[in-house]
């Protein structure tokens, strides 16, 4: 029983760490602000959720478990709000997103891959 708990928690922590690292790398690699926001979204949603679930599995005591759940719910509520406010402020202040080659606002997207 003990080994099952350890392995599953380690697996969750590993996946979470990998996702957070990927998000960090994406922050550096992506070309403009709006695409970087998606990279930050990866670490905000599944990355932190996986790490917190991994901690929940090995947590001792009920209060610790509930506090981890609270941090998870708080993150899920805060993440979209922040990115929405940030994106709206950026767009209204004239930061133009780099678009893919042919589709723009209000047009039918033609299907051809980059």
């Amino acid at each position: 029983m003990d080994i099952v708990i350890n392995i599953s928690s380690g697996l969750c922590l590993f996946v979470g760490s990998f996702l957070c690292l990927s998000g960090g790398v994406g922050m550096l690699r992506f070309p403009d602000f709006y695409t970087r926001m998606h990279a930050a979204g990866v670490t905000d949603t599944l990355g932190s959720a996986m790490i917190l679930i991994g901690l929940m599995i090995i947590s001792t005591g009920f209060l610790v478990f509930i506090k981890l759940v609270m941090i998870l719910l708080l993150g899920m509520l805060i993440g979209p709000t922040t990115s929405h406010v940030l994106a709206k402020a950026a767009l209204h202040n004239g930061l133009e997103p780099q678009l893919g080659h042919e589709d723009a606002d209000n047009k039918e997207t033609t299907s051809s891959n980059p």
């Binding site: 996702l19 990927s22 998000g23 790398v25 994406g26 690699r29 992506f30 070309p31 403009d32 709006y34 695409t35 926001m37 998606h38 990279a39 979204g41 990866v42 949603t45 599944l46 209060l63 509930i66 506090k67 609270m70 899920m76 993440g79 979209p80 990115s83 929405h84 994106a87 709206k88 767009l91 997103p97 780099q98 678009l99 893919g100 080659h101 589709d103 723009a104 606002d105 209000n106 997207t109 891959n113 980059p114």
Partner: protein, 158 residues
């Protein structure tokens, strides 16, 4: 109004009891005082109503959450693939999409769900259109008239 205040009281009590690990009489009294204080403030601000405590969503919301978690995991895998493949694989797009929800709550749930799934961000919400930025334009095509819209329409119907 009474029902919503009572539910807010229950939520705050649970929140306080779970956050504090001390259950002596003095602590409980202080907690009760702070809860009553918060209730008075919310009453004066007039924010306790159908909108801030959406009880009518409860029967259907958990099924929607399960579906949304599945969707988030799928979208995460897609975005991580884009990250490791580099700039060549992405094709960012900005587009207005129509939504068919009628209530404010439904619209907000839809916009939040779009933002919560990585790869798509809802930038602006005007009347019945959402301005969406996506990492790849196929994500927007997937979003238009898709399952998420239909499921939220089911959700907001009482």
């Amino acid at each position: 109004m009474k029902r919503h205040t009572f539910n807010l009281f229950l939520t705050l009590t649970a929140f306080w009891l779970l956050n504090s690990g001390h259950y002596s009489a003095l602590m409980l009294l202080l907690g009760l005082a702070s809860i009553v204080f918060v209730l008075i403030i919310t009453k004066r601000m007039d924010v306790v109503d159908q909108e801030s405590i959406p009880l009518y969503l409860t029967p259907n919301i958990f099924g929607y959450y399960l579906w949304l978690i599945k969707e988030i995991i799928y979208a995460n895998i897609v975005v991580v693939k884009h990250i490791w493949r580099g700039q060549k694989s992405i094709c960012p797009a900005l587009k207005k999409i129509k939504i068919s929800q009628t209530t404010d709550m439904g619209k907000v749930i839809y916009a939040n769900s779009i933002t919560l799934t990585p790869g798509t961000v809802a930038i602006d919400l005007i009347d019945d259109e959402i301005l969406v930025h996506a990492l790849h334009f196929r994500d927007i095509e997937f979003l238009e008239g898709s399952e998420m819209d239909r499921r939220i329409c089911l959700l907001e119907r009482k």
